[in-house]
Amino acid sequence: MNAPAPASAWVLERDCAETGLDPEDIRREMLRRIGEMRASIARGLASRAPSITGMVGWNAQGLWEAPDVLNAPLIRRVQAYAMAVNEENARMGRIVAAPTAGSAGTIPGALIGVADHLGIRDERLVDPMILAAGVGKAISRRMFISGAAGGCQAEIGSSAAMAAAAVVELLGGTPRAAVQAASIALMNTIGLVCDPVGGYVEVPCVSRNAFYAVHAVSAAQLALAQLESFIPPDEVLGAMASVGRMMPAALRETAEGGLAQTPTGLAVTARMEGREPEGPGGPGGMVELPMA
């Protein structure tokens, strides 16, 4: 019996029919972008330079050089790669948005992390990356992919779903398993708010990419073991879109709620903007700022 065609083949065929682009051009460009992702991982792991605000910049290298006390080299690699990309992003470095810049670390963290762990060449990442893009496209037709529009569930949720499907295809899973992995990843991201400190793409975005890169690998592992999303993928998307619409503006990238409104968050923001901090983070307050 023939193995079923990979889901990416169908995605590529459909996309080229719609856009009139040549499949080989897309594959070549995807390989180049995988190279760009790799370059951003390498720069991120090599640097401890602070970001624009000074809140992040040393976490990826810190993890990469720390002892692997859990004896979980795959997890450490996936997390370090993801944070390397987002710290590079936060210092105005060059990255590949996937699908956004705030979530740029999740797919390279999961896919390139797994590939490096298993010794898989970049050429074999092209088709999984095309599938990731196809999943992103399918999500963006029904829902939003930006934190401003749908909260972080829409942004990191999309990248985790894309990454999960890609990892399944890389490891030889069926098209059905790839879609199930995406659905499981989304199902377990519903409700996540976008509340970055000061509105900057740094805290919690850098560590969140580390988390959701691992989340994507988890979803792939469940789907490869035949676990299926109890709620069908289309309905999960619908649920997520509806939660996004219910989400108050304060939790959609405006820095008016959640972590952004903590005393530390407010104090850091005030210092960034050259103002005197207000409230408990202000002069005489209790907050010790965790940065240089």
Binding site: R33, M92, A132, A149, M162, G198
Partner: protein, 221 residues
């Protein structure tokens, strides 16, 4: 939207909506002005005004006005680049009403002409241009876009469309708005391929049109 918009763009951080999208909005104004920009007034609405500074939104918009793409490594130095290029930029916080939170209004002047562009950055570096020269439009610059302004008259859309067809180019989408009957009209046509220089020259030579621009495709896909 293509696969390359989902894994991409390759861009300078930190935000696809606040940096790459902002840069593309600047690029729209750059191409529509069609000459070296000398002065710009940029109105920033809601989230662009509130969190733009730490996202490099201001830098990205200016980089776009200078014609630099979102992956151009000069983006973090855009203010210095503008000074070198003789472009003076002024930013204002504005309330543009019930529009997307990431919206900018750009008023760009050159030696000869002036263009106003309003558009939103809707996520992932994708943009939606909603106003050009004060008239409503609705295009994403994901494909080449032809813009013509003329005094409203019978048969103009048909004449323009037949010239585009004669050039062998397919029309993907079209919007036409006008100030009122007989007032200024703006036609925005999204194309599957760029028009030939001859077709463009033909439009520019029409006495009925007073402004013609071909905006190149600004997305990668």
């Amino acid at each position: 939207m293509s696969l390359l918009d989902m894994i991409g763009p390759v861009m300078i951080g930190p935000s696809s909506s606040h940096t790459a999208g902002a840069c593309r909005l600047g690029l729209v104004a750059h191409w529509l002005l069609g000459e070296a920009p000398r002065a710009a007034t940029i109105g920033l609405h809601a989230s662009f005004a509130k969190t733009g500074r730490g996202h490099g939104t201001h830098l990205a918009l200016v980089a776009g006005l200078l014609g630099h793409s979102p992956d151009d490594s000069r983006l973090p130095q855009a203010f210095a680049e503008a000074e070198r290029a003789g472009l003076a930029v002024e930013f204002r916080d504005v309330d543009l009403g019930d529009v997307h939170p990431n919206t900018a209004h750009i008023d760009l002047r050159g030696e000869r002409g002036r263009v106003t562009v309003q558009g939103s950055s809707t996520g992932g570096g994708v943009i939606l241009v909603t106003q050009v020269q004060g008239l409503g439009v609705n295009f994403s610059a994901a494909s080449p876009t032809l813009l013509l302004r003329y005094p409203d008259a019978v048969g103009m859309i048909a004449r323009v469309a037949s010239t585009v067809a004669a050039d062998g180019v397919n029309i993907a989408a079209l919007t036409c708005t006008r100030e009122g009957r007989g007032g200024q009209a703006l036609l925005a046509i999204e194309l599957d391929a760029p028009l030939s220089p001859e077709a463009l020259a033909f439009f520019s030579a029409w006495k009925d049109t007073n402004w013609v621009r071909l905006l190149p495709k600004l997305m990668d896909g």
